[in-house]
């Protein structure tokens, strides 16, 4: 009897000791979109993040890190549920990963209200940048509007006078068109909202043709963009009406799928694979060695997010219980971003440069996205004034 009891006591103590031992590694919860047509976006965010960890041998800023990844399936409700589980059952305090603004809108408030940190590797919806900003909410990628503001500026720089704009009917789509219009000096001759699950754009393309704009701006991330571009080309519009887009509509995967049809498209971006800085060289070398597939800016953002966490973990020696110290360390953004110059603005969203890229025929005959100039310098966002922290 006493032997049994001893055994029981031993196993219980083992149970309580084991998690304590594992708790040495700082847990980071990643909620991201891995399934469905947009699954490759989350996959690249995750793999970029993992790449930064791998380069440090499973650590970030010298602190062992345990990355827990869950798929939100592009469903806001599912993202929220995962966040609740991560918070209450796993006691996770550091979060990242969300790709889509509608998922972020449902999930991020729960996370920051619970006192945990969220570093966005992609989505930066306007409401969370302004009035609803939070001291524990950081965005490493961009504020949604900036992507499209830079495209608007690029279209203006290229001298276009009339534009037709299209985006899916959801928060990021509305932000996109608002952002483009804020910096485009010409006239908008047509504005169309598509469905987020739309697969056939023939009706919209016919409207574009009828409106005869000088340029088309469209925002369709992931698989949507591939579909849109291919149908645009098949309708014979690529030769008639040039296109200016922001980077979500023309990433490495889109280009690989669309091929030569994409040549001539103007893109505005905050990062490109050909950026000439040491951090980006390290990243690109590691990516090409590790993964046998095109790199996207989602991967670069996942990587940068890991670096941002690494900088704060390093400064605090891995102590995340002192939230104020951890936050102060994060705010310094003391890391070398793959995009070059980078800092956080007053609402903890990026202040960064935006570049003009163009799809051209590369040396090997395959189309490549080339950096050709600058569009905006030290660009923040329009909402930071509304943010009171």
């Amino acid at each position: 009897m006493s032997f049994k009891r001893a055994l029981l006591a031993l196993s219980i103590s083992a149970l309580t000791v084991l998690p304590a031992a594992a708790a040495d590694a700082v847990k980071i919860g990643m909620i991201t979109t891995l399934s469905g047509p947009a699954g490759y976006l989350g996959q690249d965010v995750r793999d970029g993040f993992k790449l930064a960890m791998a380069l440090e041998g499973g650590k970030l800023g010298g602190v062992p890190v345990d990355l827990v990844v869950e798929d939100d399936g592009l469903k806001p409700g599912q993202g929220k549920q995962i966040a609740e589980r991560f918070l209450s059952e796993d006691g996770i305090k550091l979060f990242t990963g969300i790709v889509f603004s509608n998922v972020a809108g449902a999930t991020v408030p729960d996370i920051v209200d619970a006192g945990a940190f969220y570093l966005s590797p992609n989505a930066g919806p306007s409401n969370l940048a302004g009035k609803e900003c939070n001291k524990n909410y950081f965005v490493v990628s961009w504020q949604n509007d900036s992507l499209h503001e830079s495209a608007g500026q690029l279209a203006t720089n290229l001298g276009y006078k009339t534009a037709f704009v299209l985006a899916p009917n959801y928060q990021a789509g509305k932000d996109a068109l608002a952002g483009f219009k804020r910096y485009f000096k010409g006239q908008i001759v047509g504005e169309v909202y598509t469905r987020l699950d739309q697969t056939d754009f023939a009706a919209e393309l016919a409207q574009v043709r009828a409106a005869k704009p000088e340029v088309v701006f469209q925002f369709h991330p992931g698989g949507l963009g591939i579909t849109f571009l291919r149908q645009y080309e098949q309708a014979g519009l690529m030769k008639e009406i040039p296109m200016v887009v922001a980077e979500p509509s023309m990433d490495g995967v889109t280009l690989a799928a669309v091929g030569d049809a994409a040549i001539g498209i103007n893109v505005s971006a905050h990062w490109n694979s050909d950026f000439d800085n040491p951090a980006n060289k390290t990243f690109m070398d590691a990516w090409n060695k590790t993964y046998n597939r095109p790199v996207t800016y989602y991967a670069s953002q996942g990587y940068d997010t890991a670096l941002a966490y690494a900088s704060a973990l390093k400064a605090t020696g891995g102590n995340i219980d002192d939230a104020d110290a951890f936050r102060a360390a994060l705010r310094k953004a003391d890391f070398h971003s793959v995009r070059g110059k980078f800092s956080f603005g007053p609402n903890q969203h990026p202040i960064q440069d935006w570049y003009a890229l163009k799809v051209e025929k590369g040396a090997d005959g395959k189309p490549v996205i080339k950096t050709v100039g600058e569009v905006l310098k030290d660009h923040g966002d329009a909402y930071s004034a509304e943010c009171k922290m």
């Binding site: 399934s35 047509p37 697969t199 009706a203 799928a257």
Partner: protein, 304 residues
């Protein structure tokens, strides 16, 4: 006017794609009484198999038999391994089992092909666009889809209404026991019907490839619309599926194309666009609700 005609063609072409999916679905649902959510997965399998073969061999045309074979094989396997056990069961069990199949197929395709979309080029014969009327330029490939869909519709009509198999299928759907009593192997008949439905889904998937992106989850995007077609057309009616597909295709395209413009006459631009987009994405469901109110069994329910 040319814009209107172009939108009409767009609607017809979308409708034809829906028909290829809905025809299989309505056969399976109406005749066998099985709700098969995995129909979209078969569409995806057809698209992946055909696209993969087309990319490997460099020939679009070789992709067609590959897509058909893979989809039919997947359909028969699903029927044999899963659906066969569900004929007598509740619809809820069928939904649950076939939903599970969606997850399994999506994961399997992700593991084999990865998450990045596949690409298939349009064959040079069907590439480019033709000027149908002065000012009305339309992609050849979309015209080809319309042609193939119409051929399939005619073929199905003849099969169901003019052949012995078709007669048994019709009879089996109204009175399964009577057909069995006459010595017909109903089980084999069901397997054939399921295989035929899968074949059509695979064809639709492969034909959609060059227009849409071939990607994981592509089947689910269109599946709900397909169910709406089946409900509007009348469960089990191929004729119903055909006309409901065309109606739905044209209504959906028309709403998307013209509603925001109409609303802009009564309200400011961005609001009109957002509201128009909202209503047009609900349009087919509103249509379904109206049809169900007037004719609860669908527009083209078969005479029994």
């Amino acid at each position: 006017m040319t814009l209107f005609l172009e939108q009409l063609l767009n609607g017809v072409q979308f409708g034809i794609m829906l028909f290829l999916l809905a025809a299989g679905l309505t056969l399976i649902f109406g005749i066998m009484g099985v709700i098969n959510l995995a129909h979209g997965s078969i569409y995806m399998i057809g698209a992946y198999a055909g696209t993969w073969v087309a990319a490997r061999t460099g020939s679009f045309w070789l992709g067609i038999p590959a897509a058909l074979a893979a989809a039919a094989f997947a359909g028969l396997a699903i029927e044999f391994l899963v659906v066969r056990r569900l004929y007598g069961r509740d619809h809820l069990d069928q939904v649950l089992a076939t939903f599970g199949l969606i997850l399994i197929f999506n994961q399997a395709v992700t593991m084999i092909f990865g998450r990045q979309p596949l690409f298939v080029a349009i064959p040079s014969l069907l590439d480019g666009s033709v000027e149908l009327l002065p000012g009305l330029v339309y992609p050849v490939y979309r015209l080809a889809i319309i042609a193939v869909g119409l051929l399939v519709a005619v073929g199905l009509y003849l099969l169901i209404n003019r052949t012995r198999i078709g007669m048994l299928v019709r009879a089996g759907s109204t009175n399964r026991e009577m057909v069995r009593a006459l010595g017909v192997d109903v089980r084999l008949l069901y397997t054939l019907v399921f295989g035929l439905g899968a074949l059509l889904a695979g064809l639709a998937g492969f034909m959609a490839g060059p227009i849409l992106a071939v990607q994981v989850g592509m089947g689910e995007q269109i599946l709900i619309t397909t169910f709406v077609v089946v409900v509007i057309g009348g469960v089990g009616s191929i004729r119903g599926a055909f006309f409901a597909s065309l109606i739905l295709g044209v209504v959906d395209t028309g709403l998307r194309a013209y509603l925001p413009g109409l609303l802009r006459h009564v309200m400011v631009g961005p609001d009109a666009d957002a509201l128009g987009a909202g209503i047009s994405s609900m349009g087919i469901y509103l249509l379904m609700a109206i049809v169900l109110l007037i004719r609860p069994k669908g527009l083209f329910i078969r005479n029994s």
